[in-house]
């Protein structure tokens, strides 16, 4: 018997039981569709997280003040203010893997324009701050050297502040706003950045020259953090290794002392979130795979019923010349076909679900070739694996018993 005939016979018997074939397939369809959709959603969330982490800025290294340790009582990170402008200058001068450096001071302030007022954060930084944080000036200009030196009362404001003080779409350039009673001239706006990984609105911000905020608004000689960018992505780790001894030296720490500052790189954060979403993706895929296996058991179940129900048919086929191999192949092809067709429908359904999720959740849901390959291979393997036992059972029937079967 030719293979084409075997396939024809198998397909015909599936076509004779359309409803049953479909129900059997359903397990595989749901399993494959969920694998595809789960992996796509997992990938999408990973990309979202990564995108928002890189929106923190490129090649960013953050230096935070460390924990206090006075008389054996240790405070948490940031419980002391140990970083100074000098630290930032030293880092800039002595670390050759460091590109931009900006000390940062920040404060919650109430701002007023006309009859509107708004509570927001003012950041004092150098022009380097814009490079490090990857902020783009939408309208207006950055600070001039003169602004910096003279601690000029000028500011650049984020879109949320624009909306709340001036109204959507207004042009605030040249207007004067009062920040904690001090009048500031708006010289620029920052392009919209959206929320960061932690859900903070990155557009709810006012940026002013470092000296302006540091000298006019802060009561401390310390800075809140130092933002640094490495010269390129590969040098991030190298740069943080260079920074550490420089600050230790500036802080006159003995070799046995703990650091009184913390260095965080953007890749640290990205790695943490990357591994979290990888674990999530794997978890989702495993759960979805279980449903494929359940679908496979469904195939086996139906094939076993089918073999019993068609015992007589098997007997007739054997009597007129079918070998065990022919019967085996006929049932195996049926099972594989259910697997493959279920897989194809599942892939289509999975892609459809992914697209739906993408459009509802606004996530960049990505269907990967890997997930399609994985689920197609899986569905064929399930077909063969769970089809084998019933097919074997059919092939081993004794023709006399099969013919007599009622």
């Amino acid at each position: 018997m030719r293979v084409s005939n075997l396939i024809k016979v198998a397909l015909r018997s599936l076509a004779k039981n359309k409803m049953r074939t479909f129900l059997t397939m359903l397990g595989i369809i749901i399993g494959v569709a969920s694998v595809i959709a789960m992996l796509a959603i997992g990938q999408g969330s990973k990309q979202t997280v990564q995108a928002s982490i890189s929106s923190l800025g490129t090649n960013t290294i953050m230096i935070f003040p460390g924990s206090s340790n006075q008389g054996g009582v240790r405070g948490g990170a940031g419980s002391t203010s140990t970083l100074t402008v000098d630290d930032a200058d030293a880092v800039k001068e002595r670390c050759d893997l460091v590109g931009h450096v900006s000390p940062v001071v920040q404060k919650r302030v109430q701002t007023i324009f006309g009859s509107q007022n708004w509570n927001t954060t003012i950041m004092g930084g150098l022009n380097d701050y814009f490079y490090i944080r990857n902020l783009i000036i939408e309208t207006g200009n950055k600070f001039t050297e003169a602004d910096m030196r003279a601690a000029a009362k000028v500011c650049i404001i984020g879109q949320t502040v624009v909306t709340n003080l001036f109204g959507e779409g207004s042009d605030p350039i040249g207007q004067t706003i009062r920040i904690s009673q001090v009048p500031f001239k708006v010289i620029g706006t920052i392009a919209r950045k959206g929320q960061n990984t932690f859900g903070q609105d990155q557009d709810d911000i006012i940026i002013a020259p470092f000296n302006t905020v540091f000298k006019r608004m802060m009561n401390s000689t310390n800075v809140n953090m130092i933002l640094v960018s490495a010269i390129n992505e590969e040098s991030i780790d190298g740069a943080s290794k260079q920074i550490k001894p420089v600050i230790r030296e500036k802080h006159k720490l003995l070799p046995n002392d703990d650091d009184d500052f913390t260095i965080r790189t953007q890749s640290d954060i990205a790695n943490i979130f990357g591994s979290i979403s990888s674990i999530m993706t794997i978890l989702l895929a495993v759960i979805a795979s279980i449903s494929i296996v359940v679908g496979g058991i469904g195939i086996m179940n139906i094939m076993l019923v089918s073999v019993t129900e068609r015992t007589r048919e098997i007997g007739i086929r054997m009597a007129v010349g079918a070998k065990g191999y022919h019967v085996l192949m006929q049932f195996l092809i049926e099972a594989i076909f259910i697997g493959i067709l279920g897989g194809i429908i599942g892939i289509l359904l999975g892609v459809f679900i992914s697209i739906m999720v993408a459009s509802f959740a606004g996530w960049p849901v990505t269907v990967t070739v890997f997930s399609i390959l994985l689920s197609s291979v899986f569905s064929v393997v399930v077909g063969v694996f769970f089809g084998w036992y019933p097919a074997r059972k059919a092939a081993n029937l004794n023709p006399i018993d099969a013919l007599r079967y009622e």
Binding site: G315, A319, G321, K323, L403
Partner: protein, 252 residues
């Protein structure tokens, strides 16, 4: 010199049912020549079905030799037997054994489906010709449940003919049919036999056995009689003698 198609020597078949040994055949020897039409008779449990299964290569004897068309079948394995059945033997069963939800033509095609040497065009042609030979050319696309019992058995006969077997094995072919239809089937058998087909038929109906050329009688796993019929009934004439509406007449 008649050519022997089937030759069995001292066939023994013993079943084991738990501790009990059942002797279905206790040394059966039989020769069937080409062109024979033999009816095997006997009560239930006399061993005639067991012999039929062995002759049909569906079962193997416990002891003894079986030559079919010059081949010692005992040396064949399961797959070789299957192929041999497909090429040399045509089967007709009491319960017709057609594939349900499969057209008459496809049912007849079935034995050729497992023969690599026959392509699909030739297969359809031969199946159609076989259906024509049993007078069902116009019902080729009917499903078994759309056909009467007699028609179904005729489809089964067509199926047994389509591979041009050396012998046709019919196991109680009229067991499920009324008298008139039985005679119609016998008419087909006789005409096949006249054209040279070798037929082995198991039956327990004495009147049906009389359409054959010779009768073999079984009892307790042994042949107790094997004789050619002196007066052979002719199915065509018997049909003429049957009351036309015999069923209705009986009811009245």
């Amino acid at each position: 010199m008649p050519v022997s198609i089937i030759s069995v020597k001292n066939l023994v078949k013993t079943y084991r049912m738990g501790d009990l040994e059942v002797h279905a055949l206790r040394g059966v020897s039989l020769d069937i020549n080409k062109g024979e039409y033999i009816a095997i008779m006997g009560a239930s449990g006399s061993g005639k079905s067991t012999l039929m299964n062995i002759l049909g290569c569906l079962d193997r004897p416990t002891k003894g030799d079986y030559f079919l068309d010059g081949v010692n079948v005992n040396t064949y394995n399961k797959n070789q037997l299957a192929e041999f059945r497909g090429k040399k033997i045509g089967f007709i069963f009491q319960s017709f054994n057609l594939l349900p939800r499969t057209t008459a033509l496809e049912n007849v095609e079935l034995p050729l489906l497992y023969n690599r040497l026959v392509n699909s065009k030739e297969r359809k042609e031969r199946a159609f010709n076989a259906l024509k030979a049993v007078g069902l050319a116009d019902r080729a696309n009917s499903l078994p449940n759309q056909l009467s019992g007699g028609m179904q058995q005729r489809v089964a006969i067509a199926r047994s003919l389509v591979n041009e077997p050396v012998v046709i094995m019919a196991d109680e072919p009229t067991g499920n049919l009324d008298t008139r239809t039985s005679y119609e089937i016998m008419e087909i058998f006789q005409s096949l036999n006249d054209k040279g087909s070798t037929i082995v038929m198991v039956t327990h109906e004495a009147d049906i056995a009389q359409f054959a050329l010779s009768n073999v009688v079984f009892r307790d796993g042994r042949i107790i009689a094997n004789q050619a019929l002196k007066v052979r009934k002719n199915a065509t004439e018997e049909l003429k003698n049957l009351p036309v509406l015999d069923n209705e007449v009986e009811i009245i």
